[in-house]
């Protein structure tokens, strides 16, 4: 158990509305990640963070923004949700300050955009 929680766990929203997903960790890890998982695909990296206020884009960052104002919270925002953003979103951490370390995942958030 990597001490990661995600909220909400399930959300249904409408196209055009803003949505914020929260990842919370209790073990003071510096590196945090947001992924999305779609049927038939492995995970795809959206954004990641090296620490407070230090974030960078991943492979599929368009339409997403992130913020990290505290070590324990990494927020993912969809400014104006679209149906193509219907997906399962996973947050992850590494236990050391290294991308090469193992990533441990939260339980996921299932987002449906109607």
């Amino acid at each position: 158990d990597a001490g990661i929680t995600q909220s909400p766990r399930h959300k249904v929203t409408e196209t055009g509305t803003p949505v914020t997903l929260r990842c919370h960790q209790t073990e003071n890890h510096r590196y945090m990640y947001w992924y999305r998982q779609d049927p038939g695909h492995g995970l795809r990296l959206i954004h990641y963070s090296y620490g407070v206020k230090d974030t960078d884009k991943g492979e599929v960052s368009d339409g997403y923004s992130v913020s990290r104002s505290k070590t324990e919270d990494f927020l993912l925002t969809l400014e104006s949700a679209t149906s193509s953003q219907t997906s399962v979103y996973f947050c992850a951490i590494t236990r050391t300050s290294s991308h090469a370390d193992t990533q441990y995942f939260g339980p996921g958030t299932r987002l449906t955009v109607l």
């Binding site: 492995g42 995970l43 991308h99 193992t102 995942f105």
Partner: protein, 115 residues
């Protein structure tokens, strides 16, 4: 470019059979890391193993074993005496300096163990 291929989309076996899941990777780097994760029907992602490119020893953990072959760029995963609880999607992933150690994921293999 880096790539991870899990050619077996779905495998179905009867309980107690042995089953091997294949993972083939591509990278230009000599230093890299390979991972296997399990995603059971409940949806969480469970870490199974991490191997680095300098350690070609095979690894065994209970009924699970991993065969690392650098010559064929593969890290195959075998479950011995499979059980229904092994039913899940299994993902292989690669991280290397070229990708800034971001994980490159295979598409996953869905394993169905029938009683």
């Amino acid at each position: 470019a880096q790539k991870v291929t899990q050619a077996q989309t779905e495998i179905s076996v009867v309980e107690k059979e042995d089953v091997t899941l294949d993972c083939v990777y591509e990278t230009r780097d000599t230093t890299y890391y390979l991972f296997w994760y399990k995603q059971p029907p409940s949806g969480e992602l469970v870490f199974l193993i991490r191997r680095n490119s300098f350690d070609e020893q095979n690894e065994i953990s209970g009924r699970y074993s991993w065969n690392f072959q650098k010559s064929t760029s593969s890290l195959n995963f075998t479950i011995t005496a499979s059980q229904v609880v092994d039913s899940a999607v299994y993902f292989c992933a690669l991280s290397d300096p070229d990708s800034n150690y971001q994980l490159i994921w295979g598409a996953g293999t869905k394993l169905i163990i029938k009683p």
